[in-house]
Symmetry: C2
Subunit: 516 residues, 2 copies
């Protein structure tokens, strides 16, 4: 077998059986190997932001890395932004990046670039394969790195001749799966002491601490001690809704975040980072906690967050306390009138299907969605973790591939949707049950507020022009259909209800142009 086949078999041996791809000439041997080896599903995306974003969404829901296949330095470069987002959300990923044959690089052909330098910008682990005989071991190294807690980006660069030369030893053995480090017993005792102090305290969580079973434990701790439960502003995945313990998210706007954290004397981090402003603004603080709030890291993100919560509950004798699980409350859906952020939030609360995966990249329009879905049927909530907009459609694509039996709802800003709009085609090709709601307000609405927030007063016409997406209006229904996605247009609540009914009843991807 050749190097490419040894590589594919090594991936499969570790259970990595999903590959999101946009290949070129230098990756043809990897592609050819897919037909000689059973078991690797390969999904084509039309540009690389869709590739890496889909791999990210897949990893969040499948709880294991996907592989990606990218075409040399520029192909990788197009996918970097969603590596940034994946990195910020601790999603594992194994990128295979093609490269010129080792002996060809010296000639500096047009597509030559410093792929290692490109890869290092947003990967935790980078390796350039040098021979077919060792590429399987290289792949095992990439897999081990990707799975290192809390989840890492591993990028293996595969020169064409390494792929096509004979690999006499075949695939490598699957590397052991590394367990996250446990927290120190002393840290548990200190955290328990803080929570017993009676001073205003909160636990700030992200990562696996936001799964239902951990939230149940956190709920017991809150019941026993009166502490508050907080989540980061953005989280890769949260299990929430009816029957689960609700967590307050730190809001994005600085003033609202300060208000949320006001009065806290103690903040215990379980995976979370000390809360800071998303951007700096003149005359607003970067640090969001009160100056007299003491921050204690009980568990770093690479530690065992579930065990940390369990250990803390044990230490506090809280395991028998009853957590405050949310009741199911289905509001009656609004029946008529214009679509506003509020009526949209209420409609979602009324209509959200059971067991949905909700991808939220709704930016300014969606600020009320999180609260409104607190008592909806149980669902997963996936957010943009790195702030680099455009991740929503690819995330939904990957999540739907990981969870073929669950409805995926993608709440997407119109500005954000345009970065990786190509993902719609992949949704159609793979017949994925994704319903995308595009918040069509014909602007980068968040920037209008931010312009004032940063002190750039009295915006003139040129500045406003940089935030407006009209001239021309994008016809979202036609755009979706042109890429094979069924679509609906809703400019009233009645139309929105009808469009949601139709979309949720249909199979295959749907897009609703939600005109605000």
């Amino acid at each position: 077998m050749n190097g490419a086949e040894a590589l594919v078999r090594t991936l499969l041996g570790s259970g990595i059986d999903m590959c999101f791809a946009n290949p070129g000439t230098s990756e043809m041997h990897f592609v050819a190997a897919l037909d000689r080896v059973e078991g690797m599903r390969c999904v084509l995306c039309l540009e690389e932001g869709s590739v890496t974003g889909a791999a990210e969404g897949y990893a969040r829901m499948a709880e294991k890395p996907a592989s990606t296949l990218l075409h040399l330095g520029p192909g990788l470069a197009n996918g970097l932004t969603n590596l940034h987002n994946a990195r910020r959300g601790y999603s594992p990923m194994v990128n295979i990046v093609g490269e010129h044959a080792t002996y060809h690089r010296v000639y500096d052909a047009p597509l030559t670039s410093d792929i290692e330098a490109v890869a290092k910008t947003f990967s935790h682990w980078v390796h350039m394969a040098t021979e077919a005989g060792s590429v399987a071991q290289d792949a095992a190294g990439a897999i081990a790195a990707a799975r290192r807690p809390p989840g890492q980006i591993a990028t293996l660069i595969l020169p064409a001749d390494v792929a096509w030369n004979e690999a006499p030893d075949g695939p490598a053995a699957p590397p052991a799966i590394a367990r996250p480090e446990p927290v120190e017993p002393d840290a548990l005792r200190r955290a328990a002491a803080i929570l017993r102090s009676g001073e205003p305290a909160a636990i700030l969580m992200t990562g696996r601490a936001l799964r239902a079973t951990s939230l149940d434990v956190a709920g017991r701790i809150a019941a026993a001690t009166g502490c508050r439960l907080l989540a980061q502003t953005s989280n890769a995945r949260m299990e929430r809704g009816a029957g689960r313990v609700a967590v307050e998210r730190i809001p994005y706007p600085v003033d609202a975040a300060l208000k949320t954290l006001h009065g806290l004397k103690h903040l215990i981090l379980i995976g979370g980072k000390a809360p800071v402003a998303f951007f700096a603004y003149p005359d607003k603080p970067s640090v969001l906690t009160p100056s007299d709030c003491e921050i204690f890291t009980l568990a770093r993100i690479d530690q065992d967050l579930e065990a940390a919560l369990a250990g803390l509950a044990e230490e506090l004798g809280a395991t028998k306390h009853a957590p405050a699980a949310e009741p199911l409350k289905r509001p009656a859906p609004p029946q008529s009138g214009p679509i506003t952020p509020e009526t949209l939030a209420a409609t979602l609360a009324a209509q959200l299907p059971e067991n949905a995966v909700v991808v939220d990249e709704s930016i300014s329009v969606g600020r009320a969605f999180y609260a409104s879905l607190r008592n909806a049927p149980p669902h997963d909530w996936l957010q943009l973790t790195g702030g680099a907009i455009g991740d929503g459609l690819p995330l939904a694509t990957g999540a739907a591939i990981a969870c073929p039996d669950r409805p995926v709802i993608c709440l997407e800003g119109d500005g954000s949707a345009m970065y990786n709009i190509q993902s719609l085609w992949t949704q159609a090709r793979e017949k994925l049950d994704v319903t995308t709601l595009v918040m069509n307000n014909r602007s980068y609405a968040i920037l209008k507020g931010e312009l004032a927030n940063v002190g750039a007063q009295n915006a003139g016409p040129k500045a406003l022009d940089m935030m407006s997406l009209d001239k021309p209006d994008i016809d979202w229904s036609a755009l979706a259909r042109s890429l094979g996605v069924e679509s609906h247009r809703a400019s009233t609540v009645e139309e929105l209800n009808r469009a949601l009914d139709a979309s949720l009843a249909a199979r295959g991807p749907q897009l609703i142009d939600v005109v605000l």
Copy 2:
């Protein structure tokens, strides 16, 4: 005035009055400055590949750099691929990349990344501004770097507080424009001796050597010495067509390139690089020149190519020889039948408007276009220079902005078109006279040949699936209209003629879905 305003005024002082932008919160002060300062045109693009690609197209035609405005590391990352292409085509560019306020970086907010590392991957010059008082000088440094022959990528990182703080000294003086280095007289004598030797020789050109006036000189040299005139496979801009001296391009396929270069004993480089294969293939050479061909560099790309040609003609006494300028030949357009690469090439030759700017990213379908337009009315020919596909629509956008009085024709593969499809919206917004012909063969057709070329025989269904763009077919007409571009569908030669007639007569962007 604040740092942002000092920066904008410094750009304007050097004649950089064009900015392609996709800004975010950290760039709001730059955006606000646009309304306080007269003269900077700012064009919004919906993702950053369209930003940098448009800046590249603008630079090729305007013969000066545009500026870009990008949102932190991820915004820059999305634009890297077309920086790669611009770099390979020697197009100057001044990128302004927003960054968190200097004091905010330490907090590692979600959008934080190592922007300098990202920028360095494809920029010649990178600088992180540190204070408002010096940002104008920084900008002057960026401008000087961008203009350094043959044209460079300069990236200035602009922290938000550097933009919003007071800049007491205002804008900086425009830096001097560097002239390209002349070639050595001795090199001219050696090149002349080679051409006088009577042995089979060719001149290989790119860059400014491919403008009409230089080609006229090259034509005189060819007339005097019998040498052949060659151009690189890909060139940023070539002036060609009737009344101009034609140049043979080295073909992309290795076998065809070997045939073109067969028998040559001497190759004189004027800006061009020694020809090598675009990719490596097992059992094919990387170096394309015959083993006994001597390569002589008369002028590096950063030297004065026009003066090199003029000096060589002088040295050879060739200035009075008559160059073989191409006659105008308008073939009768095909009247009926299916659209094939051949009928399409003939139709273009019959219909190409006077003084067009042709952007060619037609990949496999377009292999006959270059030859077929040899005797068309004078036009500029712009190619993908770095091999990272997706540059065509942004290039056409930037070229149309630089040349508002010229028709721009974009010959675009369907696979390639999808990388930066968002550029269509900017063409509509700016009402640009671009006619895009999408070569709709529903596949990455080039890869089907490449799969065999690299020796991956007997492609199976999974491999072929990675090259097919059907399932679903993209509805190009609907896609274009959804983004505000008028569109036409042509699946016969009759329909193609009608669509071209209508498109070329209309104002504003047009797209023709050319169904092959």
